[in-house]
Amino acid sequence: MTISAVEEKVVYQRPESLSDVPTHYCPGCTHGIAHRLVAEVLDELGVRERTIGIAPVGCSVFAYKYFNVDSAVAAHGRAPAMATGIKRVLPDRVVFTYQGDGDLAAIGLAEIVHAATRGENITTIFINNAIYGMTGGQMAPTTLPGQHTTSSPGGRDIEITGFPVRMAELLAGLTGTAYVARRSLHNVKEINRAKKAIRTAFETQLAGLGFAMVELLSSCPTNWHLSPPEALQWIEDYMVPYYPLGDYKVIEPVQDLMKR
């Protein structure tokens, strides 16, 4: 048997919607997985060439370098407002925001709530890793009670700081939202489920059904001071119980989409 007789079959490659550049993310950070899932979905839906992405301020501020689509970087928390401006003048384009928990759930709370309640026909990918990563590990609105951060050094004290925000539940309560789900990136099974949800979120926009958000529980080994495997385990042990996974809002036309 000669070598040339061996048939090659590509089983895994970089999605076209992902640029061929190294990322700046820390080892074990799940941003890379989230990026890849979004890129795979854009490829599969065949919309890369009419997609506009809005990067946030935070660890994923450079998302515009990694997604091979037209992109802008918003001011901290304002990505949903910027996406609104773009989508309203280019309604046939696919517009998405990619935001972390400080960006979306703290400084940008008004912008995300109002984009959602207006039913803006955009898609939001929300990375919840319970910490401010870029600035070095401060308490986020999603930091768990008792969690140690540089600005809650004795552990988050709910008597002083109040409670973590559950964004999926909050947005699901708004009449304007079409699809709101929470998934996790801590193991393969959940990653596959996350991809399906991201696909549904973009399909919701393509069908003109309104606002869709997928919250993704993510790891931050660097600022959690855990090894990458320990960080994934921490998601399962501590984050999932406080932030239960599931679909929080699926309006009927989106349910029909999911059946197809």
Partner: protein
Amino acid sequence: MAVELMKGNVALAEAAICAGVQAYFGYPITPQTELLEHMAKRMPELGRAFVQAESEVAAINMVYGAACAGVRAMTSSSSPGISLMQEGFSYIAASEVPCVVVDVMRGGPGLGNIQPSQSDYFQLTRSAGHGDYHAIALAPASVQEAIDLMGLAFDLADKYRHLVFVVADGLIGQMMEPAELPPMQPITRRHDDWALTGADGRAPHVITSLQLNAPDLEALNQRLQAKLRIIHDTEQRSTEMLTDDAQLVVVGFGTAGRIAQTAVQQARREGMKVGLFRPITLWPFPEKRLSALADQVSAFLVVEMNTGQMIEDVRLAAGGQVPVTFYGRTGGVVPVPEEIYDAIRDLYRKLQSRPARE
């Protein structure tokens, strides 16, 4: 188009529509709300975008988004709302996307009141957001001029890919005057070379104000400054009256300049050699013409509806050659021509009582 009686805020809105604005985002605030209300009715009629935002912060960031898509986009507000928009101004200036912002100024600081004021001069010409830049600022003194400057604002914004303010005050926004709108401009696609429209058959476009590397950010700033120098050198605009033989020139912009006109005419009737200089561009400040006048006159009297802000630019333009004095009312008080006349007369007498200038 025929001359018709129009309220300033409505005229500003309709002039923007005539100029081809494709997206308006705003938040209600007195005394500019009629502008937003007119847009709420007209923009959907024309199939253009209108969103009442949840805040001025969101409104300016929606403008930023629409401007990134390459269309003519605008917002309008009044002083406290303009304060909130400063974040967006800075990002827009750094990203070099064109947009127009109308400020119908009211009394401040703080919540202040809803009466006319000119106390945003510093805010608009000096500190419209963090970083090293100036926005272009155009100041009308009548409803007709507001219409004319609205069209110019969009043209300058597109020409320089820059932020342009149209600076009115509550009086211009609220008063009704006969005025004529320009013909409706067709909507044209602009900025395909950089706008975000989807990377269809081309490399992706990216719009960002982030430059982490210090030499890169310095280079961006130097490029911005080079653009601003061109604007500074070529876009200074002003109007004047009775300055040919004037010994005293009154300097005022917008409503203050217009009220001063009546006072100057009265002083002329009394035989005083007094003229009026009214800056139309607040940035770039029309310093070339004002410097030339400084060679001729014995003094400037700056009249503003604030406690003295533009006077700093007049002093810079005068370069210490002649005294620059000030008369102003603030807190929403609009001066009447008589009190400006009194200030002119007092200063003119002082000038007469000292030796003539060589």
